[in-house]
Each structure stands twice: as C-alpha cells, then as structure tokens.
C-alpha cells in the first residue's frame, strides 16, 4: 500500500493514516478499540510522527523571514539583510536648571558644571545626562542657566571586556533593555591606561580603512546586542590585552513617557570646586518626557528588514524616505513620503515626509530639523527632504442604534458591545493612519453585528479640522477638507432665499472684539459669516469674513486677527472693553497671549458613505463616537446633521477610537501557531 496523506500534520490525521494502513493487513485487527494494546502503540507512533513533522515544519518556517515567529530567528534572518532592529528607546525630557552660585573671595565663580549621571527623579524613574555640561555664570548676579537640557530616563551601565586574541570572544551588551542609541564604545590600551579611543558605529564598509576606529552592531540572542570590531582591513582590529568599555543606558522605554514633574538630584559644581545644591538649583520642566519606546516588535522587523535592504541605505524613491525615517525616528508610528511634484501646484526638488508620532503630538521644529539633517545623508544630491506634520482630518460619527426590546432591555450591554465592535473595526481597518478610508457601510455593519438585539443603525457623519492660528497676527487661514461639502437646498423664508449652514467653527475671540465669543458659519452661497450669540439670537458682525468652495471643500477665513479660541482666551483683567455687550475693545498686553491656538471647524461632507484621505499626507482619524441607543419604533434623526453641529465640544483634541497594534512578541507561548 502506498502511504497516503503525507502532508498530515495533525495527531489525529496521522493516527487515522496509520489505521488506514493497518486495515489493509490482517496481522492485527484491534486498532479501532481504545483499550487494545495496538491502540496504545499507534498512539506512540502517531505522537512520534507528529513530533517529527512539527519539528520539520517549524524548522522550515523559522528559516524564512515571512514565516518565522521566534524573535531570535527573525533577527538572525534580518541580520543577513544588514538590518539592526531598534532597541528599547529611553524616554527623554527637556528641563531647564537655574543655579544661584555663592561668592568665594568676594567673587562669583566663572562657570558651573552639571556632572554626567543622574540629575533628576520623576515619577519613580531616574533621569540622566550622558555628558558633563558647563555654562558660564553671570558675574553680576551669580546666576547660571542650563537651558534645554535633555535628560534620559534609565541607569547608566558600564561593562568591560579584556581582549584575548587567543580565544574566540563575543562582545555582548549584557542587558536586554539597553538603548543602543546611547551606547558609547571606548577602547583603551590596557587596564591601567588612562586614555581611551572612542569607536563609532558604522553600518556599511564604505569609507572604512584598516585604521578606522569603528564597530558593527547586531542583535544577538535574547535581545542582547553584539558588537563586532574590524579586521585591520575594514576597521581596526583589537589587539590582545586591550580593554573595551561599553557605556549605555538601560531603561523602561515607553513606560516613562508623559512624566511632567521632576526633582533635582544631580551634582552641580562651580569653578571653585564648590558644590551647589538644594534651594540654589531650580528645576523647570520645559517638555514632558516622550519618545520612549519598546524594542522593535517581531512584526515590525519582518516588515522593515527587506524594505530597508531594498532601499540600500540611500533614499531614491519616496518609499525609501519613509522606510529610512521609520528607522531613524523610533517615535514614528507611521510615515508617508511623497514628491513635491505630485502637489498642486508642483514643488520640484523636495520630498515631503509626513510623520505621525506614537504619542499623537506633532514634532517640534528642532526634531524636524534633526530628522531632515539625518535624512539628507541618505538623499540624492539636489533633493531636499522636508519633514512635515500630517494633515489631520477627524471624522465625527454619531451613532443611533435601534434595538429589539424582545431580545434584551439591557442598553448598557448593547453600548459596551458597540464600543468593542468599533474598536475591533478600527483595528481591522487600521484607521487613524495614512492612506486610510472611512467606509460608513463597514462601520455600520460592524455595529449591526455587535449585538443580536440591534435591528437598525443610523450614523450622522461630520468632519472636523483645526485651524492652527497665530495669535495677534492678521492672517487669512485656509483649510481643505479634500472633498465636496454638502450643499443644502434653499428655502424661502420671508421672501429671502436662505440656505442652512454646513460649516460651523468653535468659539474664538478677535482683536477688535476680545470680550465676546464669536463663531463663523457659511451662508450657503460661498461666503463665511462671523456672528456671536446673545442667547436667543445670532448677531452677525461680518457677513463677508471668508469664502468657501463647496466643490473642493476649501475654506478660507480672513483676514482675521485671533487672540484666543475655546477656553484659551484673554483674562478679564487683560481686556479694555469699550462695549461689554458687543465685546468691542482691545487686549491690553498681547504678550500674555499664547503664540498659537487651535480653532475647531466642523462641516458636513457631501458624501458621508466613503471619506478617503485627500492627499498622501492626510491622516483620517475617527473620533470616539457618541452612541445613542433607543428601542425599535423610535424614529432615527436625519443623517445630515444640519443645525446640530457642535464644534465647541472639540476645543481640546478629541479622543480617537482605539486602534490596537497587531504585534507578535516572538514568544512561542503567545504565538498563534501553537
């Protein structure tokens, strides 16, 4: 008999295959009875085959990048592509230290030095600087200022190896939570030597000579990185007796993000070798801690390694920029890059890189410049990479659900199920990202299937964008929805042709009327009108405050001089009002105003079934919807939210639906294969 089902991997399949064989023989007949000895023997045979088949299958799967699941194997394959997975990244914060020195021999010291090592404690974490910082002291006041000091969370670790060329040595960083960005490798001639050479990390052999002090880094077993040195042909080879010192930070990654308060614990020494401390050092937090992240996940390595290899360490296509940016900036959740030639009007010679951060905040100017500088090293001559913020377009769905009272009356259960279904839908569609499209049908279907009691689902959809305005400047601000806006039908009221507004802004204050909250809306015919609300009627203050194009969704408001929006408005003591009823007056001290302010604008799209990203740099973000549950028979509201726009609820950035990461830690226990 020919063996059948050679591809059987399941225990029961293998067992039935053996039984099929025994059926063709007459030596034994009792294979079908659980109590027979033959049955016991078949079990052992099947188990053995199953084990061997599993090992064979697992081995082959683990040999290829797309099918490998264990981290060490994925990393080993990525190593062949010269890809170094990102390590844990330590959280960083920015602080300022104001130091008051004291006189020695009737004179203030000339400088003060903040010593490397721990400088602050914040939220049970220790924060360090990696190098000494020295600043000059004001000779008159005796004050010194350490401005914009970047502090890193973690513990500084020093680890040494003595080179022994008579045996095979591996130089491993003995911590799995080491941030390799902070790794400093120095080599000194022997134990007693007081000077050392600093070695730099290199990724390619280009420009390396036999004397170059350099090292290669790769991830080894159990997430411990391995350092390899040259061979006197490509990079300097280490000599017997030399001492290698690794200094790096081990840290808690993303857990230490969002810390805002720090206590000073560092050492400040003045030029007279007097320690300054206690109340003489004032710590001011400039930026909360951020950019800490976990080590790169297995899924990410599997995705990035071949793409990084394909870009060959140089950015030629737009996709190359996106891949390299993700590798350079670990806080990037997703990156999209596109040539300026694809814009209208085209901008030649520039590649735009839009970065969506994991923390959700926009990159500050310094981070953008740093990233641009790093990217320029990869880019072709004459191509200028420009790092920009993504264009955020929020979708605000309001969900009305009718449920069958014959099935359940527990509306809180229905709401919970709906919320879970929306989160699942968000994860599956990977919304809140570049190149995503909001599809209302899918959204409604997910909600419909979330609970058997749900009979009807109706969704009101409006779009939200923020105008990022500079305060105390007269500007015209334009935003674009990227799609047509709803054009309401005219109605004849008192002989005048009136259309319902389809756009409404949040509250704002202008420089000429700083005493009253105003809003703008459209007149239905292409113009924006500014008004304030007395409580029972709208008073229009400008009937031609801007323009709106219903076909393209372009909205321009201005010229307008904003001094505040939402809750960020000038205080009453900073106002000189000539007419408190109409809010006319002026701001007394404009320096007290925030430099920028965000004004929410809600509008109704012409097509609420499919809302795509209008430009490559647009991120579609879905706001956590407002869910209303009503028993069947209730009449659902109109799907076009005319006269029910509520932009003032978006004075602060809204909470978005949860998009869970699809990750695989590479731990066999959590792998879905077993």
């Amino acid at each position: 008999m020919q063996p059948n089902k050679l591809t059987a991997l399941d225990f029961q399949d293998i067992k039935s295959s053996i039984k099929s064989y025994l059926r063709t023989r007459d030596e034994f007949t009792d294979y079908d009875f659980d109590g027979s000895s033959l049955s016991y023997l078949i079990d052992v045979l099947s188990y053995n085959s199953y084990y061997a088949a599993f090992i064979a299958n697992m081995s082959m799967n683990e040999a290829f990048l797309p099918s490998a699941t264990l981290r060490d194997n994925v990393v080993n394959i990525a190593k062949l592509l010269n890809y170094v997975p990102r390590s844990v990244t330590c959280s960083k914060a920015c602080i300022k230290l104001e130091v008051q020195t004291s006189k020695t021999n009737l004179a203030y010291p000339s400088s003060v030095t903040l010593s490397r090592g721990p400088v602050a404690r914040g939220s049970a974490y220790i924060w360090n600087i990696l190098e000494d910082i020295t600043v000059e002291v004001d000779t008159v006041t005796g004050k010194a200022e350490f401005d914009a000091v970047t502090i890193n969370e973690g513990s500084i670790i020093n680890f040494s190896y003595t080179v022994n060329t008579f045996q095979t040595q591996e130089y491993k960083i003995p911590s799995e939570d080491a941030d390799i960005e902070t790794l400093s490798v120095t080599v000194k001639a022997n134990e007693s030597s007081t000077t050392s050479d600093l070695y730099n990390r290199v990724e390619t052999v280009t420009n390396l000579t036999g004397n170059t002090r350099s090292y290669f880094l790769s991830e080894g077993e159990d997430m411990r990185y391995q350092v390899r040195f040259g061979d006197d042909s490509i990079g300097r080879k280490l000599k017997d007796g030399e001492v290698i010192n690794f200094e790096y930070l081990t840290c808690s990654g993303a857990e230490a993000n969002e810390v805002t308060e720090f206590d000073f614990i560092g050492v400040v020494t003045d030029s007279n070798q007097v320690n300054v401390g206690g109340p003489d050092v004032v710590l001011i937090t400039k930026d909360r801690s951020q950019m800490g992240s976990k080590a790169e996940s297995v899924e990410s390595i599997k995705y990035m390694a071949p793409r990084y290899y394909a870009s060959q360490y140089r950015a030629v296509t737009a996709q190359d920029y996106a891949v390299i940016t993700k590798n350079l900036y670990s806080n990037a959740e997703s990156v999209i890059a596109y040539g300026g030639d694809s814009l209208t009007p085209p901008i030649y010679g520039k590649v735009y890189v839009a970065v969506k951060t994991k923390t959700g905040t926009a990159l500050n100017d310094q981070s953008k410049k740093d990233l641009q500088t790093k990217l320029r090293a990869y880019s072709m001559a004459s191509i200028d990479p420009v790092v920009i913020d993504p264009d955020e377009l929020y979708i605000y769905p309001k969900v009305f659900v009718l449920y069958d009272t014959g099935v359940t009356n527990n509306t809180s259960d229905i709401k919970t199920n709906i919320q879970n279904a929306i989160n699942d839908w968000a994860t599956q569609t990977q919304i809140n990202n570049f190149n995503s499209t909001f599809r209302n049908q899918q959204f409604q279907k997910a909600i419909t299937l979330s609970d058997k009691a749900i009979s009807d689902v109706s969704v009101q959809t409006s779009l939200l964008k923020y105008i990022k305005a500079d305060t105390d400047q007269t500007n015209t601000y334009c935003i674009s929805t990227g799609g047509a806006l709803y054009n309401s039908a005219p109605s004849n009221t008192d002989g005048a042709c009136v259309k319902e507004p389809v756009i409404l802004s949040g509250n704002f204050r202008t420089a000429d009327r700083p005493g009253i909250d105003q809003q703008f809306e459209d007149d239905g015919f292409g113009k924006l009108k500014i008004f304030y609300n007395t409580g029972n009627k709208k008073v229009y203050t400008n009937n031609s405050a801007g323009s709106i194009n219903y076909d393209t969704g372009e909205i321009c408001i201005g010229p307008i001089n904003l001094v505040g929006t939402g809750d960020q408005i000038p205080g009453p003591t900073n106002l000189n009002l000539t007419d408190p009823v109409t809010g006319l007056g002026e701001v007394i001290d404009t320096t007290l105003l925030p430099t920028t302010t965000d004004l929410p604008v809600l509008f109704i799209p012409a097509n609420n079934t499919t809302i795509p990203a209008s430009t490559p740099g647009t991120v579609i973000s879905v706001v956590n919807p407002e869910v209303t549950v009503a028993p069947i028979g209730t009449i659902p509201p109109t799907t076009i939210p005319l006269n029910s726009l509520t932009p003032t609820t978006f004075n602060t950035t809204p909470t978005l639906v949860e998009v869970n990461l699809i990750t695989n830690t590479g731990d066999p226990d959590s792998s879905t294969c077993f």
Partner: protein, 139 residues
C-alpha cells in the same frame, strides 16, 4: 445441549479480534511479538482500560479510568463503590465489544487492595466471560 465456552470462539465466528500482547513477549515459533486473540484480546483490553489513568493517553485525555487515583484514598466502602462505578462507566464507554453482566469489587482493608472481577458477555455471542485482577497502589 452443549454449553458454549470461550474455547468455541476460536473458529467459526464472524469476527476475529487480534491484538499485540501487552507483555510484548516473543513468540518462540515465529520469532515475532506474541499475539492475543478473541476473548483474551478483550480481556487484555479491559485490563488496559481500567489500569490507564485519564490523561495518560496522548491527545486522548478522556480515555482511561480513575481507579488508580482512588486507591490513594482511605479505603472504605464508599471508595470501593466508587471504584466499581468507575470500572463500569469506563468499560461501557470504551469497550464496545462487551456487555457487562456484573462488576464485583472485594476490598482487603488491611493491605489496601481491591479484588476486581468483571463478568461480561461478548456482544453477539452467548458467552459469559470473566476477568479478575487485583488493584493496589503502584509502589
């Protein structure tokens, strides 16, 4: 009328049962592993089932009997009765070739042993067979 016994099962019946001897003894004539046949195969099967713990069988955790675990309980009439029921349930569930007639469990309290006698009929044959064995804690 002649009384039918197990000796009459060897020939002329519609179905043979052939199994490997659990002792894996060598058949001195064939130099192969010994076989057990028919009534003896069924007896061996019953013993195997009763002496197999649940969870012992690979990927088939339900097969087996709980008597070996019960032997570690203080031996009293309730435990003896539970042992008896366990055996009845196991045989009824996994040995489809027989129809149980009776299961007798005789305890020896001093030595913590239980003598088991299982009487059964082979399905389709008017023969009453019996298998006896002693249960005691594995040492």
């Amino acid at each position: 009328m002649k009384q039918v016994t197990s000796a009459d099962l060897a020939a002329g019946q519609s179905r043979y049962f052939k199994d490997i001897s659990i002792a894996f003894a060598k058949n001195r004539f064939t130099d192969d592993v010994s076989q057990v046949k028919n009534a003896n195969a069924i007896k061996q099967s019953i013993r195997n089932l009763v002496l197999t713990r649940r969870g012992e069988r690979l990927f088939n955790g339900d097969v087996g009997c709980g008597v070996l675990n019960l032997l570690f309980e203080p031996l009293d009439p309730f435990v003896v009765d539970t042992i008896r029921k366990e055996i009845i349930n196991t045989i009824n569930q996994y040995e489809t070739r027989v129809q149980l007639t009776s299961v007798t469990a005789i305890p020896f309290y001093e030595s913590s042993k239980v003598n088991i006698t299982v009487d059964y009929k082979v399905v389709g044959l008017p023969v009453v067979e019996s298998v006896s064995f002693v249960l005691q804690r594995p040492s």
